[in-house]
């Protein structure tokens, strides 16, 4: 019997009690809040923005708790650096999922984002998670961190995973809610993978992406949308430097993907509400993007009935941007 409700915000003393009771948990909270927790079977990352039952919320004195369900057969916390990240897939259970938290703007995030699709075990071992961050006013001043509750270690340059083993009657199912769709503009291709783009190919001709965005006056609060066999995968813009003629993004672009600029979205809250069927089963875990929170002015506004941390990047097998990610634990048969 759990001492704490699954998937909701809790006070620090409530989370301390749950850890003492032996709960296995994924946690999201401010560095100050997470630093007050004892060792235990938990992993966490720094963020103080949340989707709650009442709407988007900033809170540094509470922690978003996702309990590992009682039916799980095991939950093991392990941290990884950029050099041993491929080991994550070898450590992942054959039937289960891995909850992964990576600190923003780090080498380990870059390695995951660029190389995960090539790792042995990609897609076969479901990986769900998010990118830890800081207060948006403190970007570039404070450092995002992740916590391995088992060892008590705090990292700014490593990621932390909890590998959850499921019984044979359950299976992990990841899905995404993307309120953006491709616009009707040019198809854009890239010759190499990376978070920073200079040249791209449009209509078979090399084009500088920064020049293109500037000349076409393209609003960069909306992402590039990649076509993955019909599924839309976003890459969001961090900055466009017209002088250096470079574009920095929050996730890598990849060769072999057809990208287009997204159709603009007006009311983000309504768009999420429409995309999420009412009465839909609550996921085992969910997160949404800080850019949706900021650009969509989601403070105090709901995103369907889904709750969870609001993050600096979302993971459903690979790094995503401006996307809601959901994990469901389905019954088999």
């Amino acid at each position: 019997m759990s001492v704490i409700a699954s998937a909701t915000l809790h006070s620090i003393p409530e989370v301390q009690a749950a850890i003492a009771a032996g709960e296995s948990m994924f946690l999201a909270g401010s560095r100050e809040a997470l630093s007050q927790l004892p060792k235990g079977n938990w992993v966490g990352g720094t963020i103080a923005y949340f989707m709650t039952e009442e709407g988007g919320l900033f809170a540094e004195d509470r922690i978003y708790v996702t309990r590992v369900p009682d039916f799980a057969l095991g939950a093991e916390a392990i941290d990884y650096g950029p050099d041993d990240l491929a080991q994550l897939y070898r450590d992942a259970p054959v039937n289960g999922f891995t909850h992964l938290v990576l600190p923003a703007a780090t080498k380990v995030l870059q390695v995951f984002a660029e190389q995960a699709p090539d790792f042995e075990g990609f897609l076969m071992r479901p990986v769900v998670g998010w990118v830890s961050g800081v207060r948006v006013e403190r970007i570039g001043i404070d450092s995002p961190a992740v916590f391995n509750g088992k060892s008590g270690a705090v990292f700014e340059d490593r990621c932390v995973a909890m590998h959850v083993t499921l019984p044979s009657g359950k299976i992990a199912d990841l899905d995404i809610v993307n309120i953006f769709e491709s616009g009707n503009g040019d198809v854009i291709h890239f010759d190499k993978a990376g978070f920073c783009a200079t040249e791209c190919v449009i209509g078979g001709k090399p084009v500088n992406l920064a020049d293109y965005i500037y000349e076409k006056r393209i609003p960069t609060e909306f992402p590039l949308v990649g076509d993955y066999n019909g599924s839309s995968i976003n890459v969001s813009f961090q900055s466009v430097d017209p002088a250096a003629r470079t574009v920095q993004m929050y996730a890598p672009v990849f060769p072999g993907v057809d990208y287009r600029f997204a159709k603009p979205v007006g009311d983000y809250s309504s768009a999420f509400g429409q995309a999420i069927a009412s009465g839909e089963q609550q996921p085992g875990f969910a997160c949404n993007c800080i850019l949706n929170y900021l650009y969509g002015q989601l403070e105090g506004k709901k995103t369907g009935d889904i709750t969870g941390p609001i993050t600096f990047g979302e993971i459903a097998h690979q790094l995503l941007n401006q996307t809601m990610v959901r994990l469901y634990l389905r019954d088999i048969g």
Partner: protein
């Protein structure tokens, strides 16, 4: 029950000869990943690797992708 790994449908699927239309992101990532891998390396060895991975994936997750499996086998 999935066809054996040596069934020709798997080569058709991983090389894109047999397209799949799905709304599910995970399997669309698999199709996309197969496509780019095959375009970069169309060798028989790589096709064999992609078939093995795809067969393993659909064996493990066939309850989630029953509609997609049916479309592949059509």
């Amino acid at each position: 029950m999935l066809p054996d790994i040596n069934h020709p449908v798997w080569v058709e699927f991983v090389t894109g000869t047999k397209p799949l239309h799905s709304t599910k992101t995970t399997i669309n990532m698999l199709v996309h990943n197969n496509k780019t891998s095959y375009e970069n390396d169309p060798s028989p060895e790589n096709v064999k690797k992609l078939v093995a991975r795809t067969h393993d994936f659909l064996t493990q997750f066939q309850t989630l992708f029953a509609i997609e499996v049916a479309e592949i086998l059509k």
